[in-house]
Amino acid sequence: MIPFSYYVILAITLIFIGIFGMVFRRNLIVMCACIEIVINALIVLFAAISYFHRDTTGYIVVFFLIAMAAAEAAVGLTLIVLLYKKQRAIHSEEVSELKG
């Protein structure tokens, strides 16, 4: 029997890794991938909650999460491609038009 807290620790670790990547990597594709990692961590968490709570709502959230992740990935990657085509740049430091 695995306690619930193990799942939480696993999820937090994954989130931690994902955020680390978000903050420190400069490749936009990798940053997108890191978002996926964070989302996966959430999937784990929700699935565990549902499993332990005997309630399918968590699973449904997971289901939605996967769909949203797919959507997010599609848009994000489109933007990256667009950006690359326009500016030939894929690294966050090279793309700073929004600098105030």
Binding site: M1, I2, S5, Y6, V8, L10, I12, T13, L14, F16, I17, G18, I19, F20, G21, V23, F24, R25, R26, N27, I29, V30, C32, A33, C34, E36, I37, N40, I43, V44, A47, I49, S50, Y51, F52, H53, R54, T56, T57, Y59, I60, V62, F63, I66, A67, M68, A69, A70, A73, A74, V75, L77, T78, V81, L82, Y84, K85, I90, H91, E93
Partner: protein, 175 residues
Amino acid sequence: MEKLVFYYLAFAMIASGIGAVVSRNPVHTVLFVLGLVLHQALLLFTLGSEFLAAVQVIVYAGAVLVLFLFVVYLINLKKETLKRRFIKNFSPCFLIFLLFTLIVVKTLLFLPALTSHFKARLPFPKGGSPLYFMAKNLFQTYLFQFELIGVVLLVVVLGAVFLLRRLDNPSEEGK
């Protein structure tokens, strides 16, 4: 046995996560994430939802990560792999991240209180598998949200197509 499986899966996920974050080549990153996703599918299987495990494999591994791979190959970044992995002046970022770490650790100390609700493993209601209840919920209680997700996906598809189409038509640029 149960624990062993869990330890293996957890270890594999964390390892491939770390690998994804630190690998220099985006292709490797994507492959590491693929590994993470597959292991996670197994984890979902152990968490009692075969359906989600399947969806995870099909959508994540089959669609999203393939998309990533496409993009990585589309944007030929061979030489980019030689560049620095991490952003330049990250010392303040690092400090903040450290703070975050501290907070997370602090959070973990609260865990016992948090997880006390989930001690008892309640049985699923009678009359069907978890999948049955899930489907029932999904198509009854959450039907609207379900449809909404469909719309969102449609919008995403249209948006992606629209965004990339405009680029091909240079006459409209700069407006």
